[in-house]
């Protein structure tokens, strides 16, 4: 039994170490700062690896690209239901913003994400293609005062929208997107007892720069 406790202690010692990493750090030239903790510990001791979080971030950014494609091609007057689907990626937070800087307009144009989606739905392209040029960059996650973790994801995308028929128009751009992401954990309680624990990654404010 004693041996089991010793084994557990040895196994969890690194985890205890990781839990300390978001404490205020002293300025020291000697010790290497741990800038890339591999394990993130949420309230109630729920743990996730950075690799797992990165995968979830990538799933969300791909889902966002799918939503943008559908909305920009959509001719359905009920497009608002698709906007609602897209807003779920942002935890239905209507405060989240998109800021776009283009070659024509170096001064950023900022609008709420929901308006950005609604505007996309007015484009009515016949065909839209969105391609990634490289692997996404996902920064390290940092714990926030409210217990959530945030990070940034940066990637390059190529957007091509075509309209056929008499218009015969093609719009094409290559943009770099930077998106704030937040990891949240919450419990589902039944009769005061926690029955399930959920973790999800939500997208946040977006910065778009035309290349």
């Amino acid at each position: 039994m004693k041996f089991s406790y010793l084994l557990l202690f040895v196994l969890f010692m690194p985890v205890l170490g990781f839990a300390q990493k978001n404490e205020p750090l002293k300025t020291s030239k000697v010790s290497k700062k741990e800038s890339n903790p591999e394990i993130f510990i949420f309230p109630d001791n729920i743990k996730f690896s950075k690799e797992e979080l990165n995968k979830r971030v990538q799933r969300k950014t791909k889902a966002l690209a799918r939503c943008i494609t559908i909305l920009a091609e959509k001719k359905d007057p009920n497009y608002r239901s698709q906007v609602n689907v897209a807003m779920k990626l942002f935890n239905n937070d209507d405060r989240k913003l998109v800021s776009v800087t283009s070659k024509k307009n170096p001064e950023p144009v900022t609008k709420p994400v929901r308006k950005y989606f609604n505007d996309l739905a007015q484009l009515h392209y016949d065909k839209v293609s969105i391609t990634w040029h490289n692997a996404e960059y996902v920064s390290n996650f940092t714990k926030q005062p409210d217990g959530t973790y945030t990070a940034l994801v940066a990637f390059e995308q190529e957007f091509t929208g075509t309209k056929g028929g008499e218009i015969n128009y093609t719009y094409h751009d290559v943009t770099q997107k930077r998106i704030e992401v937040t990891v949240k954990v919450w419990d589902v309680k039944e009769n005061g007892v926690v029955t399930k624990e959920y973790m999800d990654v939500f997208l946040g404010n977006i910065g778009v720069t035309e290349e």
Partner: protein, 285 residues
């Protein structure tokens, strides 16, 4: 992808910029160029810190591993060199800086959650139907269980030319756990200011207590709450690192179609503790 591999190797093996530039110019498609530069671009200050520290999981190492199944050709010295703006002439001090940072006995590292590096953010506001610049200085501060960006300084601006020496003080001391500037805000050029600088702003949640009491801050927060100034956008960001003993350096964004692109060191100063303190005071005004 094969072309990218070759170019990647060229840089890793530290070939001259000229060779790289010539090779890049022979590439057939612009798309390929774009692919290539993104790999090398220091995309965010977070990536700058990862490269500076030679983080084993930094993006460029991961991409190298994905392409060649090894990243052993990358060294910390090469990564550090890639963080300098190569268009600038660097003095002997730079060699000494490298020597000290790479000293095996006492290597120098940066940490995102340290509070002694600063973002100098030139914000543009609308005031009396005119655009006016207000430079804010922010740093990372430990708060509760985590960290947040906090405004530590407000630099000189036309906005403050008629500020009374002692502006009336507000009793704004309330801080809600949900009112904070997330540590990821810099990545979207602090677009978060659009909803922070509002009528309901809880200034104590965003301004350092020492700064909050100053007439300039009182005046600024009053204008924000009365909606007499409206945040428009961030024009420019510079990062100043006071982290390493004996040194102060500035990191700026360089947008160019080269391998030496993104957030790079634009100036490096060798300083004694007194000089460092003076520079910090000047930054925080």
């Amino acid at each position: 992808m094969g072309t990218i591999k070759c170019l990647f190797l060229l840089l890793i093996f530290n070939c001259s910029q000229n060779i790289i530039a010539q090779t890049v110019s022979t590439l057939p498609a612009q798309k390929t160029n774009t692919d290539f530069f993104f790999l090398y671009e220091v995309k965010l200050i977070d990536e700058f810190i990862e490269r500076f520290n030679d983080d084993p999981h930094c993006y460029i190492r991961e991409q190298c591993k994905a392409l060649y199944h090894t990243d052993s050709i990358i060294t910390r010295r090469k990564l550090l060199k890639s963080l300098l703006d190569k268009k600038k002439g660097w003095s002997a001090d730079t060699a000494q800086f490298f020597h000290e940072v790479l000293d095996p006995a006492h290597p120098g590292y940066l940490s995102f959650t340290d509070s002694n590096w600063y973002a100098e953010v030139r914000c543009v506001f609308l005031y009396n139907n005119s655009k006016i610049e207000v430079p804010l200085v922010l740093h990372i501060k430990a708060a509760g269980q985590g960290s947040k960006w906090m405004i530590a300084g407000i630099e000189k601006s036309e906005l403050f030319k008629n500020v009374p020496v002692s502006a009336p003080r507000s009793n704004d001391t309330q801080i809600s756990i949900n009112d904070f500037i997330p540590t990821s805000s810099h990545g979207t050029d602090f677009v978060v200011f659009n909803y922070i600088f509002s009528e309901q702003m809880q200034a104590a949640a965003y301004f350092e207590p020492g700064l909050l009491g100053m007439p300039r801050t009182q005046y600024f927060t009053r204008l924000v709450k009365q909606q007499k100034i409206k945040f428009l956008y961030v024009k420019n960001i510079k990062y100043h690192f006071f982290t390493l003993p004996g040194w102060v350096f500035t990191v700026e964004q360089f947008k160019r179609k080269e391998t030496n692109t993104g957030w790079l060191i634009s100036s490096l100063q060798k300083v004694n503790p007194t000089e460092k303190e003076v520079l910090l005071k000047k930054l925080l005004q």
